[in-house]
């Protein structure tokens, strides 16, 4: 019952947050110089043509009316057509979300595959050269910007070695997966460095606790000690960190999708901002915000499932 009230409370708390998001994105977009109508009809159009286009787009109405219309669409999830792409916004979002969500999931997968074994190894050998080398390399990947890593990977593995396509999403599942490998790796490197540091530090901390010695004094096998004593305690903070990074990854998809020319939400949003496609930008940011809030809630719930000391209250 406690859990149910907690989740209900958290969902209710989302309402004011989402309201602020709608305000920020609606008025933020309109503060950027540039007129979508003008962009659509071109510079040389007559004043009448521009005015007609503004009326068609509903931009001639008072701001407050426009905002209330946007709010209504936020409740019904019907955001109308994109100003530039002439297709329903919800449908566009759904199509592009497949790419971005696949990218994020694959990035997480890579991050786990890289960070868990390396972090565990570095933690066990923290006082030896091997551990120090792993930790310094991870520091490099934390400090180098993602787009640079992405460009380097693209240059070497796609342009020189031709192992991976350059900016081709493909049509079949194997093609999709192949085109996601380099971008996922790019996104995973920084996250795995952070998670690896976290795991490595926590391995050192857990090993300093007597419960590992106690487990050994009971004659348990090293495998059992590693799995139920060291890794289980180490993974609790690491999973939380990974879940938090997942929201960063969604936001970071703008950069990565641009570098690798992936047709995802990030790229769509970037184009929409550049062409002042108000309806598309507003809807995308709003839906994005919902995803982030839901994921934050799931993170907290997963934390309480993993750690018996944490209760949802």
């Amino acid at each position: 019952m406690d859990e149910f009230t907690y989740i209900l409370k958290r969902i209710l708390q989302m309402i004011p947050v989402l309201l602020i998001v709608t305000l920020a994105i609606f008025f933020g977009m309109r503060m950027i110089p540039g007129d979508p109508a003008l962009l659509l009809v071109g510079n040389r159009a007559s004043d009448e043509t521009i005015a007609a286009m503004r009326a068609k787009l509903g931009l001639d109405q008072p701001l407050i009316t426009q905002y209330l219309l946007f709010l209504r669409s936020c409740l019904t999830f019907d955001f109308g057509n994109s100003l530039t792409l002439k297709a329903p916004v919800t449908e566009l979002f759904r199509q592009k979300a497949v790419v971005t969500v696949s990218l994020t999931l694959m990035t997480i997968l890579f991050a786990v595959l890289i960070s868990v074994p390396l972090g565990y190894y570095a933690g066990l050998h923290h006082d030896q050269p091997a551990g120090a080398v792993i930790n310094s390399i991870s520091l490099v990947f934390v400090s180098v910007p993602e787009f640079l890593i992405g460009l380097l990977l693209l240059l070497v593995f796609a342009l020189k070695l031709h192992w991976f396509p350059v900016g081709d999403w493909g049509h079949t599942l194997p093609e999709h997966i192949r085109s996601l490998i380099l971008p996922s790796l790019t996104g995973a490197l920084m996250t795995s460095s952070l998670v690896m540091r976290n795991i490595s530090d926590n391995v050192v901390k857990v090993l300093s606790y007597d419960y590992v010695d106690f487990a050994r004094s009971k004659g348990l096998s090293e495998k059992r000690i590693r799995n139920s004593y060291i890794l289980r305690n180490v993974m609790i903070p690491a999973v939380t960190l990974l879940a938090m990074r997942m929201t960063y990854m969604l936001a970071g998809s703008i950069v990565i999708e641009s570098v690798f020319a992936l047709p995802g939400i990030g790229q769509m949003m970037l184009n929409a901002i550049l062409s002042r496609d108000y309806s598309l930008v507003q809807a995308t940011v709003y839906l994005f915000a919902i995803i982030v809030l839901v994921m934050n809630l799931l993170t907290d719930i997963s934390y309480s499932l993993l750690d018996p000391r944490v209760k949802l209250k």
Binding site: D210, Y211, D213, S217, S228, R232, I236, R309
Partner: protein
């Protein structure tokens, strides 16, 4: 006396810590034995090497510690020579251990029941395991054991955690239990309960025990024989009653004087001046010489050996002035 079976025989144990500036010796030529069914006490201040001695026995030393010399004979096998695999067969099933701080000794993400049951034989069914776990929890005095099986360490009080830890250590029925300051982190009333529990368990189960403590009161309640450690060496060793009534070493004598007693009520409590020597800066002679009231040039230059007191084999002390101490000790009231 030869009928008494020795369960553990530690001979000339030497444990070093390999630090950056070279090795330092934490346990230096320590020899003692534990008879079947008795409780042997290792007492001394922090840093005297008593906990390192315990960890050396089970080979649970943390880096950079390492046993560099001596033998640890358990049931006719030298533990120092066993492979890691063979050692795992000794840990838990033959020699168990309990620790000082129950909060950090229990796995926070595993139920108490599961931590007890993971020591059981794989051939046991789940029902058998749970039944046995409940029995163990009842044995150490945990109320409503069946419900507590599924509790986590953070849901227990300090004393209950210590009881749970004991139940976990007893799960694989060790013949020898190593207890590393098992009462230090507890309230005085709880301390007393845990000591009584340990004494009862030891008698009922016929277990032998090594108790490491800095608390003379605890040691006097439960130990059959006692060794006093200082600076990594045993300074004096004797049957418990003997050592409390007739301490022969100046350090033991000073330790006894530092304990508040009803008879000396009103007078200022004695405290030993100075601090124990650090491991990397051991005095050339007797380690206690810098703090000893009886120390002379010989003590400072030449380390004494353990010698028997009054020709008694059971009572040995490491001091050049044993004779003078015998005189002094007459005035001690414990």
């Amino acid at each position: 006396m030869s009928e008494i079976e020795r369960i553990l025989d530690v001979r000339h144990l030497k444990t070093d810590f390999f630090l950056e500036n070279g090795p330092v010796t934490a346990v230096n030529d320590v020899s003692f034995h534990v008879n079947k069914g008795e409780t042997f006490g290792l007492i001394g201040e922090s840093g005297s090497g008593k906990s390192v001695t315990l960890r050396s026995i089970l080979r649970l030393l943390r880096k950079p510690g390492k046993v560099v010399g001596g033998q640890i004979i358990y049931k006719e096998r030298d533990l120092c020579r066993l492979s890691e695999q063979e050692m795992r067969g000794i840990r838990g099933r033959e020699i168990g251990m309990i620790f000082q701080e129950p909060m950090t000794t229990l796995n926070p993400v595993q139920t108490i029941g599961s931590q007890i049951m993971e020591s059981f034989k794989k051939s046991m069914t789940k029902e058998e395991k749970e039944k046995r776990a409940v029995e163990l929890m009842q044995l150490v005095g945990i109320p409503s054991a069946e419900e507590r099986l599924r509790s986590y360490a953070h849901q227990f009080s300090g004393g209950m955690r210590q009881r749970a830890m004991i139940a976990i250590a007893l799960a694989s029925e060790p013949s020898l239990l190593l207890a590393d300051e098992p009462t230090t982190a507890l309230d005085v009333t709880i301390q007393d309960q845990i000591i009584r529990l340990l004494r009862k368990l030891q008698r009922d189960l016929g277990m032998s025990m090594i108790l490491v403590t800095h608390d003379l009161g605890v040691a006097s309640e439960i130990c059959d024989r006692i060794a006093v450690m200082y600076g990594g060496r045993i300074m004096e060793q004797a049957p418990a009653e003997e050592i409390f009534t007739h301490p022969k070493h100046p350090y033991t004598y000073d330790l006894m004087r530092s304990v508040p007693s009803m008879e000396r009520k009103g007078s200022e409590l004695y405290s030993i001046e100075g601090t124990p020597p650090s491991l990397d800066n051991m005095p050339a002679g007797c380690p206690f010489a810098p703090r000893c009231e009886l120390a002379d040039d010989r003590c400072r230059e030449d380390a004494p050996e353990l010698t028997s007191v009054n020709g008694e084999e059971e009572h040995i002390a490491r001091c050049w002035h044993i004779d003078r101490l015998i005189e002094q000790a007459k005035y001690l009231k414990v």
